[in-house]
């Protein structure tokens, strides 16, 4: 709520699907290859060529439909959206107009505080991507790379159910996470494999929705947040000054942090949609629709709830692990391998493991296995080695296949929990630090930490810090 106005947001997310081949031809669907090498007469729209539908695209889109609780239109069609642009070789895009493959769904988004917000899903439809314009100083004019032409896309259109940029961000992150969990998109923002258009309007609660503006060219989730905030403020300023918001399409300039008008409703493009005569009606058998629903994996929201409820993780930690498919998969493998402390394990996954993953190393590229990780965590959980000793072991088992028990013995990392040994150390330290003992007994409780630290030092780090502290406390109490 800004100045008494509620911000209303609707989002259109375009996600490139990670099918092996393009949507209407057999060209490879992959990013970053030499320009105009992944092309054929069909995706170049050469005269006389015809599209044939890649059925995987329909399956992938239905999976997303199920994940977003949509009803599936088993019988639907494809339509032509006509407009001229050099990156669109046929001068029309094959898309879906009045009958999308999926519609009327919803997505529950868990906000940072843990509360759940339900966002309506208007529709999901399939379409083809266009090429890309390139500009070079060496060339007077523009060049076109057609590699991306015909890459399959789904467009996910939400209802205007978000109230502000934080909900929009949470929605986008959840959508991305689902796309990755059902493994239908690579979701690489920097490669443009997921993009969005943002619809924003503002109104005073209790009054009808305001006039909306659509913002194009929003290339990252953080840009979406900035764009929504900017646009909401712009509209509120107009209204506060007694003006009227005009319905228009605007372009978000993330570098300048402003939106700029592209076209108003009056000169909106007429895409002259009509049914694509080169393709047949899509008919998906009922069994197929059901089968796709059954093969859906556990979705991220359900995972977060399960991690909190079954493993006792904090919502924050659970969300952090679930956010990355590989982390979550490894976490669960370690549990399956017999790890007895999910909470300690979570610390390792979000600490040391995330550290090397952020540097670009995948878990599979290391020698770490769910079994070795589970074993290591169990050693720590049982108090057999300290966390610091655990780090030493971890650094070794990441690099090489090694027996953890052997490392602990060889390096003398075993933690001392034996009471008599710990008592001997305590006596020695207390005797050598009479001043601190006096301080503690005089009420300076932070002297305790110093004393425990001295004991750890004396044990060369091998003492079990918890047990050590207990013994010191007991001995101090005896003196007091």
């Amino acid at each position: 709520m800004i100045k008494g106005y509620e911000v209303v947001v609707g989002l259109e997310v375009h996600a490139e699907l990670n099918t092996k081949t393009k949507i209407y031809c057999n060209c490879r669907n992959s990013f970053g290859l030499e320009v105009n090498t992944q092309v054929c007469p069909i995706c170049l729209g050469m005269p006389g060529t015809l599209p044939t539908l890649n059925e995987k695209v329909v399956e992938y889109a239905i999976k997303m439909g199920h994940a977003l609780n949509c009803s599936i239109n088993r019988i639907c069609k494809q339509d032509r959206k006509n407009y001229f642009y050099p990156d669109l070789p046929k001068s029309y895009q094959i898309s879906q107009a009045d009958i999308p493959l999926c519609q009327n769904g919803y997505l529950d988004v868990i906000m940072d505080g843990g509360e759940v917000k339900r966002i309506g899903i208007e529709r999901i439809h399939i379409e083809e991507d266009a090429g890309k314009l390139l500009h070079s100083d060496k060339f007077d004019g523009s060049l076109v790379d057609f590699n991306r032409c015909g890459v399959p896309l789904i467009e996910i259109v939400s209802k205007p159910d978000m109230r502000g940029s934080d909900e929009a961000k949470a929605y986008l992150e959840t959508v991305r996470s689902i796309l990755k969990y059902i493994d239908i998109s690579d979701c690489k923002m920097q490669e443009g494999s997921i993009r969005c258009d943002v619809n924003v309007s503002v109104h005073k609660p209790g009054t009808p929705f305001g006039t909306r503006c659509e913002m194009k060219n929003v290339n990252s989730f953080s840009a979406a947040v900035r764009g929504i905030d900017y646009e909401a403020n712009r509209q509120i300023e107009i209204l506060e000054a007694g003006g009227v918001v005009t319905q228009e399409t605007r372009r978000w300039d993330d570098q300048k942090g402003v939106s700029v008008s592209m076209r108003t409703k009056e000169d909106a493009q007429d895409y002259r949609y009509f049914p694509e005569p080169d393709l047949l009606t899509i008919v998906v058998p009922e069994e197929k629709v059901r089968e796709l629903k059954e093969t859906l994996p556990e979705l991220p929201n359900a995972k977060i709830v399960r991690y909190v409820e079954s493993f006792g993780l904090s919502h924050y930690d659970a969300a952090m692990i679930v956010d990355v498919v590989e982390k979550s998969a490894f976490f669960e493998s370690c549990i399956d391998a017999g790890c007895r402390s999910p909470k300690l394990l979570a610390n390792w996954v979000l600490g040391e493991i995330s550290k090397f993953m952020n540097e670009g190393t995948a878990i599979e590229d290391t020698c770490l296995t769910p079994e070795s990780m589970a074993e290591l965590v169990n050693y720590i959980a049982d108090g057999k080695i300290s966390t610091a000793a655990g780090k030493t072991v971890f650094d070794i088992i990441v690099r090489e296949k090694a027996d953890i028990k052997a490392i602990i013995e060889e390096k003398g990392l075993a933690q001392v929990s034996d009471e008599s040994a710990l008592e001997a150390i305590a006596d020695e330290v207390l005797a050598a630090n009479e001043k601190s003992v006096a301080d503690y007994l005089g009420g300076k409780t932070n002297a305790l930490g110093y004393l425990v630290g001295q004991c750890m030092k004396a044990s060369k780090g091998k003492a079990n810090p918890g047990a050590m502290k207990e013994i010191i406390l007991k001995k101090l109490a005896e003196r007091g």
Partner: protein, 486 residues
């Protein structure tokens, strides 16, 4: 002595397999005929004698090694210039594609090449198959071999004229609203528009995707059956191609029409159709009745709306199909342009001819927001009704017979400035495309001036056999193709 190019394909096929002639001799004969006569006819846009002879040599080797599996091995085929031929110009008779050489073959071309056919050349047409006279060709107007001052019909006028004047043994054309049958009728040859989906459209430069169909021309029914056998069949590259088994029409040919029920729809014999044409067709029907067929009156009441529905659907699809010719990737690009929009506008204004631009504008209009429901949607509803009327009619008859063209060939220049009069030439043929049915046109008489009339035989979906059988019976009873005096 009869020249090789004057024989029918089925006769030549036997002569080739018995090694009485070679494909090289035959191909040379066709090319010589082209040299001799095409200056008058203008059927061909492009020939490459050397390349054709090479293909003929290859065919002769194939035949000699007994590896030839097709009856058409070694037979030269003329190709309408909107069918994509790898490495050979495919202009669609448009300035827009004057210098366009495809990098891929249409599926029908791959099939003909596998069969060992020889390409005799690329044939003239109305620009992008839009027209009924070839006068819309950017390059040249083809002349009717029966009267050089008359049109050969269109849009496949080059194909019809080449076959009629023996410049081609057989030829391929395409038919969106009558573009095979009407020129076949005007040039006195046989032309088949197959069932939608029976011949792959892959590589046919699209005019109206839901109506276009490639089909054969020949001087006799047998030749048309032979060529159709070669090009029909399922193609995974064309989603609208029908996945079913296709049997040989040539092997199935029979002139026994005893008991066959011929539907005669009154709507095709009244207003707009010349009485002489109607009479010629009825004559043929009576002739067929003598052979045991039965004529039955049927009604197709929505016929009067078909032409409007056809031009709405065809133009709508064309406006989108032809949008790719924008000067960006291939073909014509205007010079001295001021930015992208100016380049689009100039390229398309200069690259397309009047009729093509007229249809793009019509199609753009009927699809535009606010008009879509009033035009396109209504036309699609009418299409449904016309289909239903045919289905109903075929419950009581086996074939339906009508005139192909409402008149014999008209004079060059007579209708070119009156688009509605030109569109009326399609009045008897468009319903067949709208309903997706097969139909064949056969010569059925001549005007006082010696210009051919054509009879159209329409069949049930995928029932090419029955209409060809009736055409064959008619040919045997009536005499069929007569050579024009040139």
């Amino acid at each position: 002595m009869k020249k090789l190019c004057e024989y029918n394909a089925y006769e030549l096929s036997e002569m080739l397999s018995e090694r009485k002639i070679s494909s090289v001799e035959l191909t040379k004969s066709v090319l010589e005929r082209k040299e001799e006569i095409d200056g008058k006819i203008n059927a061909y846009l492009f020939t490459d004698g050397e390349a054709s002879i090479k293909m003929a040599e290859e065919a002769d080797r194939l035949i000699a090694s007994s590896e030839a599996k097709s009856r058409l091995a070694g037979i030269p085929v003329g190709i309408k210039d909107n069918i994509s031929t790898k490495g050979i110009a495919t202009t669609c008779a448009s300035k827009m594609l004057e210098n366009y050489v495809p990098v891929f073959n249409a599926t029908v071309m791959d099939r003909l090449s596998r069969a060992g056919c020889v390409i005799s050349g690329k044939l003239n047409m109305d620009e992008f198959a839009m027209g009924s006279s070839t006068e819309n060709s950017y390059f040249v107007t083809t002349k009717n071999p029966f009267d050089l001052t008359c049109v050969p019909g269109g849009s496949s006028g080059g194909s019809a004229a080449a076959v009629s004047s023996c410049e081609a043994v057989v030829a391929l054309g395409s038919d969106t609203g009558g573009s095979i049958r009407q020129p076949a009728s005007l040039c006195g040859v046989v032309g088949l528009k197959p069932t939608y989906g029976s011949v792959s459209r892959y590589g046919l430069v699209a005019f109206a995707s839901s109506l276009d169909q490639i089909g054969p021309f020949g001087r006799c029914v047998k030749d048309v059956a032979l060529l159709q056998d070669e090009i029909q069949g399922h193609d995974p590259m064309d989603a609208t191609s029908a996945n079913r088994t296709y049997s040989s029409l040539y092997d199935g040919l029979s002139d026994d029409v005893d008991g066959l029920k011929i539907g005669v729809p009154k709507e095709y014999f009244g207003k707009g159709v010349k009485p002489e044409v109607a009479e010629a067709v009825m004559n043929s029907v009576r002739e067929l009745e003598k052979r045991g067929a039965k004529a039955v009156a049927v009604s197709l009441p929505s016929t009067g709306y078909a032409l409007s529905a056809y031009y709405i659907i065809a133009c709508a699809e064309a406006s989108s199909n032809l949008a790719r010719f924008d000067g960006v990737k291939y073909g014509y690009r205007a010079k001295d342009c001021d930015g992208l929009i100016d380049m689009y506008e100039k390229t398309r204004s200069e690259g397309f001819g009047r009729e093509v631009k007229r249809r793009i504008m019509l199609g753009t209009f009927v699809l535009s927001s606010g008009y879509f429901d009033a035009y396109y949607k209504k036309a699609k509803l009418l299409q449904k009704r016309i289909r239903q009327e045919f289905t109903d009619a075929f419950k009581s008859v086996d074939v339906i017979v009508t005139p192909t063209s409402p008149s014999e060939a008209f004079k060059i220049g007579d209708r070119i400035s009156d688009p509605l009069a030109m569109y009326a030439a399609d009045i008897c043929t468009v319903t067949v495309n709208i309903a997706g049915l097969p139909a064949v046109s056969v010569p059925c008489g001549y005007s006082a001036a010696g210009l051919p009339y054509g009879m159209q035989i329409i069949g049930r979906k995928f029932d090419e056999q029955t209409i060809l059988n009736l055409a064959y019976a008619h040919e045997n009873a009536f005499g069929g193709f007569r050579r024009p005096k040139l």
